[in-house]
């Protein structure tokens, strides 16, 4: 879950602080757009999609408060989220205004033409090595972000926009991450082994996992319940 926080902080805060020579103006514009939202409460559904996890779609509530408070709460049930997010420490990057934002070309993301901007932390000890943003300049929306970390591999975040695009808020977020193998010693579960089909094998070799959040509604700038960010 914290990975999401990371992402939102990234999109929110880096815009405030990064001083990329070429792209400062663009990032400033996006920041201004996002600054319209002081807080929101969103509802939606969340699904963890990993080859070796069979999980149901769950209802979630998402709370946000400027500048960097973010919380995802599952409406009952257990949420399974990639652990990697926990160790991504963005505070270090944010504390030092120590980035380089570089233009890295143009691309087409989800059918939109985007500008690729690479954010490099200057701090050698930062867990984040590189963040790449795919920015839809025309609509001032971030369509994709890829973060490479030292300890937890690479994350990719895809955002799709709909009726809340004016606020810069996505309708759908797909968070893609790498997974390790799932292995339990044979015999431990004492189950019958049904034969593996080729499709099963192919599926199980898939090493990418995704967490997909579909937002159904936002309640923007209407305030949020007190104490929600207290752990």
């Amino acid at each position: 879950m914290k990975a999401f926080i990371v992402f939102f902080l990234l999109t929110g805060l880096c815009i405030q602080t990064v001083q990329a020579q070429d792209e400062t103006a663009l990032i400033e514009k996006i920041k201004q757009k996002l600054d319209q939202v002081q807080n929101y409460v969103a509802t939606g559904s969340m699904k963890t999609d990993v080859a070796f996890i069979k999980a149901p779609v769950g209802k979630v509530k998402i709370y946000f408060q400027q500048p960097n408070h973010f919380k995802l709460v599952r409406d009952g049930g257990i949420s399974i989220l990639p652990k990697g997010g926990v160790s991504v420490n963005m505070n270090a990057i944010m504390a030092n205004n120590n980035y380089v934002a570089l233009f890295a070309g143009n691309s087409i993301t989800d059918g939109f033409s985007t500008k690729i901007v690479k954010l490099l932390p200057m701090n050698e000890n930062s867990d984040i090595i590189l963040t790449t943003l795919y920015i839809d300049e025309k609509n001032l929306l971030i369509r994709k972000a890829i973060t490479t970390t030292r300890d937890n591999g690479t994350y990719q975040i895809n955002l799709q926009y709909g009726q809340y695009s004016n606020w810069g808020l996505p309708d759908k977020v797909i968070f893609t991450f790498n997974t390790k193998d799932y292995k339990i010693p044979k015999g431990v579960t004492l189950e019958m082994d049904e034969p593996l089909t080729d499709a099963d094998r192919k599926k199980m070799q898939q090493k990418e996992g995704r967490v997909i959040i579909d937002y159904t509604s936002y309640s923007i700038n209407k305030g949020i319940p007190l104490g929600i960010f207290k752990h």
């Binding site: 699904k47 996890i53 652990k83 189950e191």
Partner: protein
């Protein structure tokens, strides 16, 4: 017939031995529940350590449903011993104390005696499982609450919504009943051949242990014979805790991944029960009572 059944049940429940099983189950379940209550999170993180390296779980992982699953997984392997204690004693026990000849000189046919005795053993088995269900499921729910049930299968992890679990337990206990009835039927068959109850009880337990080892060892030569062992099919209750997913890898609530496997295993167990009880009746009908 009903009178005979009543009498058989009366005999079962008048004996102290019968209650050993109920007490043993209550004790075992209480110990597991106590252990999990005191240090359950450590246990869960130990069991889940493999997945917890990559994932974090937010919610009540250790809930009544999981506790019940842990109990069933640990206990159902041993319940056959308790079933054998009564079922394998049904005929041999009476032969041993000499009451069998008195029973057989009453105006009752041997078929009726066998039928009533097996039904009585089956009712005992049923009550034992109900007792187990009450303690393992309802008491665990009371102690630990409910939430989604997360189960590690050999190849994947299954998350079942808390509103999609209860019926699966009904199915699992129903299937477990079938599995335990197979044990009861086996014990019943062996009890026809002996004139003391130790032999059939030990015999039943030995067969179950032997077959269970063959059923669970993943050695290629054993795997070839595993589909033919009834003990392999006795664990099919676990298939109630697996669910189908759609093309988006979304769980479809209320489905069973291996419904056909459950039905197949159920039929195999039913066939065993019919065979064991049929053979027991066939042999007993022709048996000379010399005790």
């Amino acid at each position: 017939m009903f009178t005979l059944l009543q009498v058989e049940l009366y005999k079962i429940f008048k004996r102290p031995r019968t209650y050993i099983a109920f007490i043993a189950i209550a004790g075992l379940i209480a110990i597991i529940q106590l252990g999990l209550k005191l240090d359950g999170d450590a246990y869960v993180s130990f069991v889940m350590s493999n997945v917890e390296q990559s994932f974090s779980f937010d919610g009540k992982l250790l809930n009544g449903y999981l506790v019940c699953y842990i109990i069933l997984q640990l206990l159902l392997v041993h319940v056959p011993l308790l079933i054998a204690l009564v079922a394998a004693d049904m005929i041999s026990g009476e032969a041993n104390i000499g009451t069998l000849r008195l029973l057989l000189t009453q105006p009752i046919s041997r078929y009726e005696i066998m039928f009533a005795k097996f039904i009585a053993a089956a009712i005992y088995t049923l009550l034992l499982l109900i007792w187990m269900a009450v303690l393992a499921l309802f008491v665990s729910i009371w102690l630990f609450g409910t939430d989604d049930l997360i189960i590690q299968k050999t190849r994947y992890l299954v998350q079942l919504s808390s509103d999609d679990v209860f019926w699966r337990y009904i199915g699992a206990f129903g299937f477990a009943l079938l599995a335990m009835l197979t044990v009861a039927a086996l014990g019943f068959l062996l009890s026809v051949f002996a004139e003391n109850s130790i032999g059939p009880i030990v015999g039943t337990i030995s067969i179950i242990i032997f077959f269970t080892i063959l059923s669970t060892m993943s050695i290629p030569i054993f795997q070839k014979i595993q589909p033919y062992l009834f003990t392999t099919h006795m664990v099919a209750w676990k298939d109630f805790f697996d669910v189908k997913v759609n093309s988006d890898n979304n769980v479809i609530k209320g489905t069973l991944q291996n419904k056909s496997q459950i039905i197949h295993s159920a039929w195999i167990l039913i066939a065993h029960i019919v065979f064991f009880v049929g053979a027991a009746t066939f042999v007993f009908k022709r048996k000379d009572i010399l005790t």
